[in-house]
Each structure stands twice: as C-alpha cells, then as structure tokens.
Amino acid sequence: MGKLSRRVAIVGAGMSQFGKLFPLKRNPDLWVDAWLNAVKTVDNGIEPKNVDACYIGNYSSDLFNHQGHLAPQMANFVGLSPKPASRFEGACASGGIALRQGVIAIASGIHDVIAVGGCETMNEVSTTLVTDALATASDNLFEYPSGATFPGLYAAVASAHFHKYGTTAEDLMRIGIKNHDNGTQNPFAQMQISIKDLMNNKLAKLEKQGRDIPDWKDEFDFLKSSSNPMIASPLRLFDCSLVTDGAACVFLAAEDVAKQFTDTPIWITGTGQGSAALSLHDRDSLTSFVATKEAARQAYQMANLAPKDIQIAELHDCFTIAELVAMEDLDFYEKGKAVDAVRNGESKLDGRLPLNTSGGLKSKGHPVGATGTAQAVEVFKQMRGIAERNRQVKFDVEKALTHNLGGSGATCVVTIYQK
C-alpha cells in the first residue's frame, strides 16, 4: 500500500505558449507545440515508437469546444495511433490526475513510457460561458442557485480565513505581486508583466487621455482602486487566475528504460490524491482543504520526506487565497502562520521557499486541464537548471513538490520530485 512497484522518472517536459490564443491555436495545435518542446528536452531524443500510451488531462473540451473524446485525437496528432489514449477529468486537477495515473501505470509494469499531457482551449466561448462551464465543477443543485461562482467560493473561504486568522486583502495582494514578478521571467507565461508595470501603464494611459491622475503611491494603492474591480469580495480582478489556452507535455519512463533517454532523470518519488464533498457547505472546515491534506499525507509518506525537506513548489493559485491555504495545508507553515512568510518574502524567487517560480496560475495562466502537467514542467526545468530568463533559483533543487487542486477543493493531487 502506498508504494510504487518500480521507480518512475520524468525524462522530458515542455509546454506550449500560454495565452489568449484561440482561434490561432486550438487543442491539437497547442498539444503538438507542447509535445515538440518536451521532445527538445529529452537528452538522447524520443520518438513516438518509444511511447506506449498517451494520457491527457482535460477538464471540458465538451463545453469549451463542443468536442468530446479528446485523447485519441491528441495521440494521433503526435503520431501515437493506434496506441492507447485516455482522457482524465478532475476539474482543474485533471492534469495532475493524468500525471498520477501515468506514474501508476508505469509502476504497475503495464507500460514503460507514457506521454502525459494536459490541454484546454477556453477562449473559444464568451466569458459568461467560461464562468458557467467552470461553475459545473461546483455543486449545481445547491451552490449554483445561491449564486456561487468559482471566485465566489474561494472568496467565501477567504472571508472565513480573514475572520479566523486575521489575514488581510493586502496579504493576498502580495501573493499576486510576487507571482506576476515571477511571470515576467517566463517566456511561456500569459501575462509577462509586473503589477507595478501594469500600474505605470495605466497611469500613462490616463495621462495621455488627459484624465485625472490617481494618487497611487505604490502597487497596493493601485490594487485597492477601482482599476482593480471587485469580482467577489474580498477577491479583486488581480486575485484571480486567467482564462487561458495552453497545453503541457511530460514524458514519463520506468527506471528500467529511463537511462536510454537521459543521464539525469527527475524521479517522481511521491504521488497522492484526495477528495472532499463537492460543496463547501458539506465540509468540516472552511479555511482548509481536506483533499490537499490527504493528498499531501500520501505523497510525503511515499517519498519518505517531510514538508521541511521541500525546496521549491508550484502551488495551485487559481486565486491568491488558494496559494495561502495550500502553504498551510501542505504543512509548510502552521495554520494561520503562512501570512508571516508572505509578509517577509519567504516565498519570493530569492526567498527561503520559492513558490510558483513559473508565475503560477495568476501570471503564467490557467488552461484548466493543462495546469497540473504545466506545474510538472516548471519543476522539471528548475531541477535541471534550465528555467528561462532570470527565474532559475540560485540553489540546486533536489526536492520539489507540485499541488494541483480541482474545483473548490474537492479534488487534489500532490506530487513530489527528486533528483
């Protein structure tokens, strides 16, 4: 129980450009781009004939693109037909589930090499339809008629966290500012711009239009202004992740064959998955996600590591509050204490525990089903020392973690990586 029967490694990983790319790029285009970028990172090369199966994480091509049955199409576009192709769905954790199932399938001995992917093209439909499509990942009968949206559900969690632990809207803004700063260093990110530059652009625009210039002394003033509208109190626009088109690809290989592809595989030593009631109101805690705690418990136990051993992590910051809650649920910090780390900059790129070096969902973007695999791509790059621009952390990363949360926390996958 809780052990992999043989070791599984990532031997290559890459992602497509993330952004508002439809109709220039649709799922097959994005997936091929991700595949080609992943192939480039495999030291000794990899071809379709080396790959036994294709596992795709995708939340809802049905609702976003009126296209079901996605996996065989994706497999075919990279030359994998007639090999087995399967799609996995767990809302925003779809990519994480595909990755975990790939690990399990290889550990079981049924496959040696699997291409794990994630993709989502969300910009084919209007914002209202995106909101409604995402809302189907929450409870349709009892939450939806009460007006619950995704931002609204996370905002309700934030309200409870603020009340219980004294967290403030400004603390959440710090998380958004940090993730945007990281995103400026990621050429694949959707918003490669800092909040400060966004503010300065806005000021320049107002000046050009001859309008009144707001008296903003720093980013916080800008973020508290009407230029950052309240989506669902206390969450404003820049607390929310983006509507994104994108794909990611990871090549998994069994220990028996990994050395054919590279001398420096990144081992997946821990994988865990948890679940919870679909509705917030059916859960025991409104300030913590039990699915995360369960997934983390399993992953730490399998890897035989403690939270303090983790050096970097990609956390599921679909909303700024989600990063804060994850910092606590993963036991990086005691409950209610993660704000201290946010305030003193520990989670910044040069901090003690860099979080979301990729820019996170906030700045890199959140193509729902691709997010879980894209997190693995970032960790792979950081551990290999090949992260682009100036976001490579300054120390050797031997142990890393990714946290992929679905819906309003009803599904979670936690993965641990080691050199």
């Binding site: 309700a156 409870a160 109101h281």
Partner: protein, 153 residues
C-alpha cells in the same frame, strides 16, 4: 429469470407523508418553502440537504426533520461577476449580490443568498451574525421557483 431476482432489488414504497430521501424530495420541500434535512436515528448526525445514507456511521436509519431556519454567517462573498442565473435577476458588478455559507443552529452548513445586507460594502457584513431563512421567489415564465436565502435575524 428477472422475476427470480426481484426480492434482491430494494423497492422503496413511499407514502404521501414520507418522502424518499432524494435530491428531488429536498427540492420539492424547498419549493413549498420548507427547509428540510435528514437526521440519523443511530448517531444523531443531521444533513441539509437530506441524505439517505449517513456517511458518519453508515446507517440508513434516517428521518426527516424540519430546520428552524435560524443560523449564523460562516462565510460570505459579495459577487460582482455572477452566474448567468443571478445575472438574469439583474445583478451585476455595479449591483452585487451576497453568496453565503450559513451554519444552521442544528449544526449543518448550507449555501444560500444573503439578502438585507449592504452588498456594496462587504466589510459591513460580519461573520457570526445571526440570520434567519428567507425563501426567495423567482418568476420563471409564469412559474415560481423557490431558492434558499437568508436575511439578518
């Protein structure tokens, strides 16, 4: 052949006074402005919406109970960019509505729209404030739909 297995199939015969614990039964009660839950006769756990299977003790020995409708705000958010259902009711970024999670005095938490509060000033709404149930009517092409809501007590 099928008849041989009939005895193995659970058949629920429901009298007019005793509805089966289904989603539809709960919604029918809601439509008639009753907030109903089910209570486990073995362990005492209460469920709103009602459930047929007690997930605390695995019992199916539950009974309907009507909730008082009194509770306290456990979490909330004033939502500017809402669902299409709420947008159709006229809510917008300039006219937000309040989504809330209420802790009922019987124990369970339940979601509902919170009315009678200042949605444009969310900081004036306080967690822990006492509320009471308010059944919200929406006219849908001549038919009245009832949804669960709350207002300050």
């Amino acid at each position: 052949m099928r008849g041989d297995n009939l005895s193995e199939i659970e058949v629920y015969i429901v009298s007019e006074n005793e509805k089966e614990f289904t989603m539809e039964s709960y919604l029918e009660y809601l439509q008639s402005k009753k907030l109903m839950g089910s209570k486990c006769k073995d362990c005492g756990e209460t469920y709103v919406p009602s459930r047929k299977l007690c997930i605390k003790c695995n019992s199916t020995n539950l009974e309907w109970i009507e909730m008082s409708g009194n509770g306290k705000i456990a979490a909330y958010s004033c939502i500017g960019v809402g669902t299409s259902f709420m947008a159709a009711k006229g809510y917008s970024i300039k006219n937000p509505y309040c989504f809330s999670v209420i802790k009922l005095e019987e124990g369970p938490l339940i979601s509902g729209q919170l009315i009678g509060v200042d949605e444009k000033h969310p900081d004036t709404i306080k967690i822990g404030t006492s509320v009471k149930v308010k059944f919200l009517e929406t006219d849908l092409k001549g038919e009245t739909r009832v949804d669960l809501g709350f207002e300050p007590a």
